[in-house]
C-alpha cells in the first residue's frame, strides 16, 4: 500500500467531483432538499380533517354534539348541508373526509333515554386515515355521551362519581406527537444512501466507459489503492452531509437531540462504509454508468425509503417483509438514528442495532475489496 498513489487517486477524484456540476449539486443541494421535503411535505398527523354535517333535527342538543366535534383539533366542521345528496358530493370530490348525520329524532330519543345513533360516513380510500378518523369520532361522541349521563344523574340528586378508571397518558420521547420528529432523523439514512451508493456507483463504471481505466490499471497502483482513493472523498462528503442534515434537523425543525454526537458519528461512519462499499461493488459489476445508477437506486435508496422503518413502522409490516428488513443495513441505522435523537439511548444499549450494522460494514467492505481486479477480462 502506497500513500502517494492512494492520495494521487483521491486528489484526482476530488478534482473530478468539484468539476462535475451534477455531482457537486447532489452533494450540496440534495441533503437540504430532502430535509425540507420530508420536514414540511410529509405529515402523518391528522389534524383539522374536513367534516360536512347533515343536521336533520337542528335542536339545542344536536348543536351541542356538533360543538364537541368543533372543539376537537382533529376535525374541522366545514359546513352544514341540507341532505344526503350534498354530503355525498362533498365526499366524492374530496371536500369532506367525513360526513356526520344527526337523525331527526335525536333530542327526543335522548330525552326518553332511548339509544340513539349518529351516522358517520368516512372516506376510507386511505384506510389508515379512515381508521384514525373513526377512532376520533367515537371518542368525541363518547365524551359527549358521558357528559350527558353525569348531568342526568346530577339532576336527580345522585352523587356523581365520575368515570372510575381513566388512563393518564404521558407521551415520551416525542412529547408533542409531531410526526416530523419521527421522520426527520431517518432522512439522514436517505441522504447517505444517495451520496454513498448513487454517486460512487458511477465512479468505476465511468472509468470503464471513458476508457481511462485501461491507463489507470497499467500503472503500479493497486486495486486497494484505487478503491480507497476513490471512496475517501465520498466518505468525507457523506459525513459532511450527515452533519449538515443533523444540524438542520436540530436547529431548523427543532427535533430533540438527546443522545451523544459521537455515537451518531460512529454509526454514521459505519453506515457510510456500508453504502460506499455497495456503490463500489455495483460499479465494478455494472461497467456502465446508467445500469450502475439504476441498480444503486434499486438496492439502496428504495429499501432505505420503504423498508427501513424511516416512514413506515416495521412492526406493522407483514411478517415476511419484517424478515426482509433484517437484511437491510438501513434498518439498523434508521433505528439507531431515532433512538439517538429522540430517546438519547447510550451506545451501550444500542448493541442490537450496532452489532448487525458492524457486521454489514465488515462483510460489504470485504466484498467490495474482493470485487475489483486490475484485469481487463
Amino acid at each position: 500500500m502506497s500513500l502517494t498513489r492512494l492520495l494521487a487517486v483521491a486528489r484526482k477524484e476530488i478534482i473530478q467531483i468539484i468539476r462535475d456540476r451534477r455531482s457537486l449539486g447532489i452533494v450540496i443541494v440534495m441533503p437540504v432538499t430532502l430535509m425540507l421535503l420530508f420536514g414540511y411535505g410529509v405529515n402523518l398527523d391528522l389534524k383539522g380533517m374536513p367534516v360536512y354535517v347533515v343536521d336533520q333535527e337542528g335542536s339545542q342538543q344536536s348543536q351541542d354534539l356538533l360543538k364537541h366535534f368543533q372543539n376537537s383539533e382533529y376535525f374541522h366542521l366545514v359546513r352544514v348541508v341540507s341532505g344526503y345528496p350534498q354530503l355525498t358530493r362533498a365526499l366524492d370530490d374530496g371536500r369532506a373526509k367525513m360526513g356526520v348525520v344527526i337523525p331527526w329524532d335525536f333530542s327526543e330519543r335522548l330525552r326518553d333515554g332511548r339509544p340513539v345513533q349518529v351516522q358517520a360516513l368516512v372516506d376510507a380510500s386511505d384506510d389508515n386515515t379512515a381508521n384514525v378518523l373513526i377512532g376520533y369520532a367515537q371518542a368525541v361522541v363518547q365524551g359527549y355521551s358521558g357528559e350527558r349521563q353525569i348531568n342526568w344523574l346530577g339532576r336527580r340528586g345522585l352523587s356523581v362519581q365520575p368515570v372510575a378508571i381513566s388512563v393518564q397518558t404521558r407521551t415520551w420521547y416525542n412529547e408533542d406527537l409531531e410526526s416530523s420528529a419521527f421522520i426527520i432523523p431517518g432522512v439522514l439514512a436517505l441522504v447517505m444512501s444517495v451520496i454513498g451508493a448513487f454517486l460512487t456507483s458511477l465512479t468505476i463504471a465511468r472509468e470503464w466507459e471513458r476508457g481511462t481505466m485501461e491507463q489507470l490499471i497499467s500503472t503500479p497502483v493497486s486495486a486497494m489503492e484505487i478503491m480507497l482513493g476513490k471512496l475517501a472523498p465520498y466518505f468525507v462528503l457523506g459525513i459532511f452531509d450527515t452533519v449538515v442534515g443533523a444540524l438542520i434537523a436540530i436547529y431548523w425543525f427543532q427535533v430533540p437531540f438527546r443522545g451523544s454526537f459521537a455515537t451518531l458519528m460512529f454509526a454514521s461512519a459505519m453506515f457510510m462504509i456500508v453504502v460506499l462499499s455497495l456503490g463500489f461493488f455495483i460499479s465494478v459489476l455494472a461497467k456502465s454508468q446508467f445500469a450502475a445508477s439504476q441498480i444503486a437506486l434499486l438496492i439502496t435508496f428504495l429499501p432505505a425509503f420503504l423498508l427501513s422503518g424511516f416512514l413506515f413502522s416495521i412492526e406493522q409490516m407483514p411478517i415476511a417483509l419484517q424478515w426482509i428488513t433484517r437484511i437491510l443495513p438501513a434498518r439498523y441505522y434508521v433505528s439507531v438514528l431515532k433512538k439517538i435523537f429522540l430517546k438519547g439511548t447510550p451506545a451501550s444499549m444500542l448493541y442490537a442495532d450496532l452489532v448487525p450494522l458492524a457486521v454489514f460494514t465488515f462483510v460489504l467492505a470485504l466484498l467490495a475489496t474482493r470485487s475489483f481486479h486490475k484485469r481487463l477480462e
Binding site: R5, V9, S218, P220, K374, R375
Partner: protein
C-alpha cells in the same frame, strides 16, 4: 535492476477468448534501445499481445518476461517498469494538463525531489509549456497523444508500449511523434509499438508482421523486403492493363500478378531471366509493353504476399 531490464522476451505466448485464438504461439525477443514494430491489420492480435505484456490480460499459456519480470507472476513489478499508451486516448479529459501529469507522477511514485524536473521534462517533450492549465479534453488530437506519451514515461521506464499511438493524428504530428520515439530509443529505452500504417513500419528497427494471431515474418524492414518474398518483383507498365493481368496470371513462371496503381506487380522466380520471356509473351498477345524492370518490394508487397500465402495455407487445411 535486473540485467534484462530493457528487454521483452516472449515465448510461445497464447491468448484464447473462448474458441477464438487471438494470439497463437508467438515468440519475440527485443534488444535494448530498439524500436520494435508490431505490424498487422485490425483484429490481428496486436493489442491483445501488448495488453498481455503490460499485465492487463492473463496469457492462456506461454511466457512473457518484460523488463526482467514475468507478466503472469509479477504484473505489479512489470507495471512499475513500463510505460503504456493504450489505443484509445485514456487520460482524464476533465482534468487540466498539469493535473493529469501530477496524477501519473503520483501513480508511478515519482520521488518528490525529482517531481518538478519530470513535470518540466514532460511538458517540454509534449510541447505543452505554458498550456499547463488547459483542460485536457480541449486539446487537439496530436497534443493529446504527446501528453499521453509524456504521462506514460514520467517514471523513466526502461520499456515502453505504444498501441497505435498515431492513429487519427495528422502526418506532421505523426512525424514529430516518431522523432520522439527515436529520441527515447537513443537513450536506451526499448520501444514496442503497434501500427497498421505501412509507412510507419519503415521507422522501426525491427518488425514483426502479425496476421490472425501468428507472426508471419520478423526482421528489419530491409530484411523483410529482401527475404520474405518468395521470388522477385517486376514492375510492368503496359496497355491494355486488364487483358495483361488475365494473360499474365496464366503465364509460365509467374507466381502472382496484381494491379498497383497504373502498373502491374509480378512475382517471378528470377527477374532477369523472366524479363525477355514475358515481354514476348505479352507482345504475341497484342499487349504493348512500355516499361518492365525489377523493383524492390515495399513492406506492403511483403505483407500482401505473406498474408496471401497464409490465407492459402489456411484454406488447404482439411
Amino acid at each position: 535492476m535486473p540485467e534484462q531490464a530493457n528487454s521483452v522476451v516472449v515465448e510461445k505466448l497464447v491468448k484464447r477468448f473462448g474458441d477464438f485464438v487471438a494470439v497463437d504461439h508467438i515468440d519475440i525477443e527485443t534488444r535494448k534501445g530498439e524500436v520494435f514494430g508490431f505490424l498487422g491489420p485490425n483484429g490481428a492480435g496486436k493489442s491483445t499481445t501488448i495488453r498481455m505484456l503490460c499485465g492487463l490480460l492473463r496469457p492462456t499459456s506461454g511466457r512473457a518476461v518484460v523488463a526482467g519480470f514475468d507478466v503472469a507472476r509479477d504484473p505489479e513489478s512489470v507495471r512499475q517498469n513500463i510505460g503504456y499508451m493504450s489505443q484509445k486516448f485514456s487520460l482524464y479529459n476533465d482534468l487540466k494538463v498539469i493535473e493529469n501529469i501530477r496524477l501519473f507522477a503520483g501513480l508511478y511514485s515519482v520521488p518528490a525531489k525529482d517531481l518538478q524536473g519530470r513535470i518540466d521534462w514532460a511538458l517540454e517533450m509534449a510541447n505543452l509549456k505554458g498550456q499547463e492549465n488547459l483542460i485536457t479534453g480541449t486539446l487537439p488530437g496530436g497534443w493529446k497523444q504527446r501528453l499521453a506519451l509524456g504521462c506514460a514515461v514520467l517514471h523513466k521506464p526502461p520499456v515502453i508500449f505504444l498501441d497505435e499511438p498515431t492513429s487519427g493524428v495528422d502526418p506532421i504530428t505523426r512525424r514529430q511523434f516518431w522523432d520522439l520515439i527515436h529520441e527515447m530509443a537513443g537513450e536506451g529505452v526499448t520501444v514496442f509499438v503497434t501500427t497498421h500504417y505501412m509507412e510507419e513500419a519503415e521507422y522501426c528497427n525491427r518488425l514483426a508482421l502479425i496476421f490472425r494471431g501468428k507472426i508471419v515474418a520478423l526482421g528489419t524492414p530491409s530484411e523483410l523486403k529482401r527475404d520474405s518474398m518468395t521470388g522477385q518483383l517486376l514492375l510492368v507498365e503496359c496497355e491494355p492493363l486488364g487483358a495483361a493481368v488475365e494473360a499474365l496470371q496464366a503465364a509460365p513462371g509467374v507466381m502472382d500478378a496484381a494491379v498497383f496503381g497504373n502498373a502491374l506487380h509480378l512475382v517471378v522466380g528470377d527477374a532477369a531471366a523472366a524479363q525477355p520471356q514475358l515481354r514476348s509473351y505479352l507482345e504475341t498477345r497484342g499487349i504493348s509493353v512500355s516499361r518492365m524492370e525489377q523493383i524492390w518490394p515495399s513492406l506492403e508487397d511483403v505483407f500482401v504476399s505473406l498474408t496471401t500465402a497464409s490465407n492459402t495455407a489456411e484454406e488447404r487445411k482439411p
